[in-house]
Symmetry: C2
Subunit: 151 residues, 2 copies
């Protein structure tokens, strides 16, 4: 899946995130980066709203799952996500996350055996000066399509 | 602050949240409830998107702070927030949070002394059948206006 394919799909799959101007900018096996513009996503004190920062980071779990696991068999859901706000964000923000190769192998083995497998993904969010504005830690799960959909 | 006053202000203070159709429905000292409609906030599998659930819960911290602390002296920020997704949400969702009276007193005492004070707020999110779809735990802070704004 290329970022362009993902971004074309986002408008219909998660209209809220599309409306925030979020776009995937890098995507490969075990890695994803997404950006969100400041415009439209601020609050009354001129910093990016917490929910916008949450969203640009949360999406990485699904994007990585699509690029990394067999989507004809599995689909991803998010089980929990914790975000820590470190500095105010006042520019475009980029979120980055990587799933190590050994973790990928482990997730595939567990999913093949049990029909589903959790994985933890940490993301770092930086502003256009490279300052870390937030960090996240999310638990995602891939599960077989035969299981009922969640989110 | 009445819910109506809060909701009128939300369009300019956090346009993203206003755009999601979120509205505060109950507000008193130490307590707040907000609702978010399903329309416009779903994803491709027909459940409410994670970032929408995050937002309706996150706002409660600021709403409670405004109703509970002296806003001529203090303003609230969110430091971190963890959300756990328990069931898919497919209807209007209501988020509820309460800050106990003894916690309020403690926060006021600490803020008067140090110029700022953290407080932890837990919220529960239910669908229109009363099923808990998500829970959150956030750390907020009130700080004197003389400190630089965060978010």
């Amino acid at each position: 899946m290329t970022p362009e394919e993902y971004n074309r799909h986002l408008e219909s799959s998660i209209p809220l995130a599309h409306g925030m101007g979020i776009r995937l900018v890098e995507s490969s096996r075990g890695h994803a980066e997404a950006e969100i513009p400041m415009a439209g996503n601020g609050n009354h004190v001129g910093t990016m709203y917490a929910g916008a920062l949450f969203t640009v980071a949360e999406l990485l779990g699904g994007a990585i799952a699509i690029s990394t696991f067999d989507t004809s068999v599995y689909y991803p859901i998010v089980k929990d996500l914790a975000i820590t706000f470190r500095r105010p964000a006042m520019t475009t923000v980029r979120a980055r996350a990587t799933l190590p190769a050994d973790t990928i192998d482990d997730v595939i083995n567990r999913a093949d055996e049990a029909g589903k497998a959790d994985f933890v993904l940490e993301a770092e969010l930086t502003d256009d000066a490279g300052v870390v504005v937030a960090t996240t830690r999310g638990t995602y799960q891939i599960r077989r399509h035969t299981d009922p959909p969640r989110r």
